[in-house]
Point group: C2
Chain length 213, copies 2
Amino acid sequence: MARTTGSDGERTEAAIRDAATALIARHGYEAMSMRQLAGEVGVQAAALYRYFPTKEDLLFSLMLEHMEALLTAWQEARPASTRPQVLLSAFVENHIAFHIARRHSTHVSNMELRSLSPERLTRILKLRTTYEKELRTILRDGAATDAFAADDIELTAMALIQMMTGVIVWFRPDERLSVAGVTETYLRMTMRLVGANEGREENHVHQHAEFRA
Amino acid sequence: MARTTGSDGERTEAAIRDAATALIARHGYEAMSMRQLAGEVGVQAAALYRYFPTKEDLLFSLMLEHMEALLTAWQEARPASTRPQVLLSAFVENHIAFHIARRHSTHVSNMELRSLSPERLTRILKLRTTYEKELRTILRDGAATDAFAADDIELTAMALIQMMTGVIVWFRPDERLSVAGVTETYLRMTMRLVGANEGREENHVHQHAEFRA
């Protein structure tokens, strides 16, 4: 997302990030040249290197920002409640909303891990683990209190994350469904997938959906 | 997968496909040159063009083969039964097994649709639709007969496909889990996600899993 406030330098950096994200999502990191990127932003190639000394610095910066923004978004969205179903619902809503709003950035983050140096890959993967751990903790607490069916927590977390992130592959908000509508259906599917126990906790999503397809 | 039988020409073509799949999965389609590919296979660049007149012909051929192989695998795996739970179990098993065995090819097929010409993209997307329709039909029949909870069939199909294909991102068969173990857990998650009705049909997967995480 373009940032419109800040100094000229900040605006240029934001423009570089936005253009790089779009170019990498479209053509792939290795296919993008710094010269091409400079042309897209409307600056000299030399100017780019003041912000990002190497092309990999730029890629790493995009991925770092993506993961930090995701963690921040979740910290802000996370409810005070300790009830697993409330926490899981909030997690699903935040995850889908974040990734739909950052489609290109998500593609870059998922496709270009291969292009990071080992140390940087490790840093990004640590942030991913931190994020995934939030979900695993919710699932584990839910299984421990019988709010959810006890199953393999790690596999359940991966399945949910991939199912939710996958929304950006096919979903375009101008189609038959709104973001809210998709999120509602995904909430129902998630609650069924984790075996959410309707009887014991009141649940703010509807478990029994109307027939729509 | 390398084919070891056939004429020299068939073996060369298979070697080109295998090397191209690995290179594209690693670096991206746009970053791969036909010269680099020829070097990898150990032939002159001119020899490549006898098999694939353009780089896009090669990409299209890889994607076509991937989708046709997936449809063939499903036709062969598809049980004679008309029971939705039996069909869905077989679909999940085949989908996971196929994609784990063809990890690179799956990455190419999912990441490089952007690089196909519009007509070729349409052909590949039609094959995808044909495949997804198989799953939607199973889900719809299941909902109609009350074997599954009635929910949005299209979203359920997309969620299941992305959850299952996502296995190849994190799963390596030499880790704590076998392909069979992962498949078993995914079968349970799938049956819960679709709200499979245990009471009405006996179900060949266990709905109540032991606590493992």
